[in-house]
């Protein structure tokens, strides 16, 4: 390896290339690639262009296309004449955002190859005209295999903000007026982790309950959250029993640790976990833990949220 002399942009380009190699193989492959590259350079300092030429001329497919894409090089026409890279004639509505979102499901190193292919299909569907949302949707439905298909469709559904389809179904199957609202809000919170405005508005409209009343309900009952919580929600029991047994210290310990590590965890307190007999207890995402179990669970979520 000592016989390689790098020019700054050469080193940079090579690093970029290495980043595109799947992580598991990176260490193993690096010496080989360096050896190949050294051969190509034949003693000359390695520039960015040299790396690119080497990728283009010496590497076998499919690595060649993938790495070329990773380096931002245009796929060459002679290799895959069928892959048109023509730009879209135009986009309608959210089509462009949807197209990009669809590509996000493709692994990094293959994305640019797929972009060309899929763009071609989209153009075909649009028959030269601007690409519409429906065109992208039909591509996903017809061509993309699962589980990517499900992921993409789900993402599309929440693109405008919040996916209210479940709530809509639930409202339809819940007859009654205002007496059903608290139950619906519980369902909303179970789905989203909080009560987003869009969902509250929908309940307000369908159940004919003014938004002012909705807001008052949301704030007079302690169960509901109006802000999106962190990755995990930890509820610390602050019952009198826990207080007498030092529940305050546990709360402080958790808060301090979050402040220190910046973990994405929301801390709440509750007087009525109903487990004062195993106090101090905590509830993590709806499950109750106490003592040793509580400490182990905290350890786990902190390591996940860093």
């Amino acid at each position: 390896m000592s016989d390689i002399k790098w020019l700054p942009d050469g080193q940079k380009t090579f690093d970029k290339l290495m980043a595109a190699v799947p992580e598991a193989m990176r260490d193993a492959i690096k010496p080989k690639l360096l050896q190949m590259l050294a051969g190509k350079a034949a003693g000359q300092p390695v520039s960015g262009d040299l790396v690119k030429t080497w990728v283009k001329e010496d590497l076998p497919e499919p690595q060649r296309s993938a790495l070329m894409a990773a380096l931002g090089m245009k796929p060459d026409g002679d290799q895959k004449p069928a892959a048109p890279v023509a730009a879209a004639a135009g986009w309608q509505g959210n089509a462009e955002v949807m197209f990009e979102r669809m590509l996000q499901e493709v692994p990094d190193m293959m994305r640019e190859v797929f972009r060309g292919k899929l763009m071609g299909i989209a153009n075909e569907k649009a028959k030269g005209g601007p690409i519409a949302e429906d065109h992208i949707l039909s591509i996903v439905k017809e061509i993309v295999p699962d589980p990517f298909k499900t992921n993409i469709l789900k993402a599309f559904a929440t693109m405008g903000g919040v996916d209210l389809s479940n709530l809509e179904k639930l409202i339809e199957s819940t007859p009654g007026g205002q007496e059903t609202v608290i139950g619906l809000l519980h369902a909303v919170q179970a789905e989203f982790g909080y009560c987003p405005r869009e969902a509250v508005t929908m309940i307000s409209q369908r159940k004919c309950v003014p938004m002012a009343v909705m807001y008052r309900l949301l704030t007079c009952y302690s169960a509901f959250r109006l802000q999106k919580p962190g990755k995990h929600v930890v509820t610390v029991c602050t019952s009198t029993g826990a207080y007498v047994n030092g529940g305050g210290a546990l709360l402080k310990q958790i808060k301090d640790k979050i402040a220190k590590t910046g973990a994405n965890i929301t801390v709440e307190t509750a007087r009525d976990l109903g487990c004062a007999n195993v106090a101090p207890a905590i509830m993590v995402d709806g499950e109750i833990f106490s003592g040793v179990q509580a400490q182990a669970k905290l350890e786990q979520i902190f390591s996940e949220s860093n």
Binding site: G274, G291, Q293
Partner: protein, 664 residues
Amino acid sequence: MADIKWLPDGQETFDKVIAAVPEGMRAAMKPKLIEMLAAKAGGKKISRKIVEAWVKEDLPEPQRSVLMAALGLDRPAAKADAAAVKKAAWKVKGAVKNAADLAKMKAAGQELLAPKTLRITVSSASCGLAKGAETVAAALQDAVKKQKVNADVVLVGSNGMSWAEPMVSVIKAGKPCIVYGNVTADAAAGIVKAAAAGKIVEDLALMRVDSIKVDVTGEKIKYAADKAPAAALAKVKDGSKIDFFKKQLKIVSRNAGIIAPDRIEEYIGLGGYQALAKALGSMKPADVIKEVKESKLRGRGGAGFPAGIKWEACSKAAGDKKYIVCNGSEGDPEIGLHKSFLESDPHMLIEGMLLAGYAVGADEGYVYLNDRYVLAVERVQTAIEQAEKVGLLGKNILGSGFSFTLKVKRGGGAYVCGEETALLNALEGSFAEPRPRPPLPVHQGLNGKPTVVNNLETLSTVSAIVLKGGKWFAGIGTPASKGTKIVALSGNVARPCWVEVAMGTVIGDIITAFAGGTASGKKVKAFQTGGPSGGILPASQLKLKLDYDALGKAGSLLGSGGLLVMDEDCDVVDVARFLTEFFLEESCGKCTPCREGVKRLNEIVSCIADGRGTKAQLALVKTMGEAMSAACFCALGKTAAAPILTVMKHFPKDVNGKMLKTIN
């Protein structure tokens, strides 16, 4: 590195370990880890097992937990199994159309409770689950499968011994039931092995149980024959002879911890729905009310209003639509006893509500539960579905023409919902605020119709009263308070637990006999009954009896049965501050004396608790307490000053210690 020989699965597992190491450190760590691993292997080829054992045994925390999680060794794997235990939902067979069907199901239930094959139960109410019951259940399930033992692993409720959770019981017909306490997942395989061989794991065994009561009439299921216990059993205490059970009188909670809450057959096996059959078969609604009146059963929620009188008023109220509402709001920050009870035996409540419905002529009921009681909601829901399936809820129950539907509603979380009219508001989807009365709920309650609102313990007591008679129930307890009461002990106690004792039991005895005194071993300084609204009483009052009137006279209340113990080191003034803060958070704001009162009260009490008190403040607290108890709209505001007022009365030394030295 050359000296390491890998087996394919070992290499694979090790790669997983490496992948879990943060990328930046991976290259640096790898040689070290391999070196450690090689030492562990000692020249052998490295298999998956060696890598796993190495991670589990040799690595320091927190890396250990992280890597165990990455390899799926710890909780995650067990969790999947636990979910499987839960998911294997119990399917009820058969229908109960008449008394004969009920008898048949009773026999089936008893077969489940004392089967010829092995039955292993895990106590998994919330307090058990919090201490890892789910993992234990999964480990037991796993051991049963691996050891090829024919056994039924069942999730049951809690028997009250919260300090010994999670508990595991091993039952087989003809042998005494062995109860193990503080069981961990590691002990599961040993327990299954011993159980299959008819042996006992002695260090974990808490007690043995020779028989269980079928119902309040005295019928029993015997596990073992009457002969003297075998030698192996000699060291294990007889459950009926240890104080914890000997001193209790279990009526409402008699099934808790024995039956599976999600199997209606087991409830019926222990005499469930017999009271309903009796009432529907041979009693008029007025007879049921007469029995309940005779029993002198008083509301278990707080106020202690006689249930029979409430029912009678509702039955006489005009209207064709009536409701029964179960108050399970229990927002008290001290307890959770009703939750444990409900998670253990939801059918007892359903039967009580059916009886109430029959007595007052209601055909619809609601169970209102606190929003945090997610598991209780689930279990009551399952119980309702099963009762509907067999025909004990719905139309024409037991062929009597009586129909009743029941729904469970999860609240939004507000302490004031324990007040019955605020609860009705919450049920109607409105704000948690009390309503003016009159009209009383028995005249105009839910949706403006006559409604009985009872605490869930009150309703659960009714089936025993109907079955054995009001006179029997009235024979237990004190002149003013009849029957039994579930009491939950928390705070600074050696063994937190919940127990059911006869009314009139001395409070000091409850603390020593069941909870084993204070955890610190110091003297009891103070105790509080009845949740935050109760007074904080000194140790000299420990001779008080569990009785509505006696506690009321002492400036406290029985409430829903919380008993909080504080030892000598406890700063009672600070506890009073904590409780006023609670009222500040929970005041609904409807009436001015409460809304403004609790705010001001909290300011003053905080100031005193911080050691900056003045005599003028103490005088003001007294005046405010009187004013609030006279002017506030509901009991929340009326009793908000009780903790600080009782502290001032009974602990003058503590309060004086908090006075500002300069101006007093």
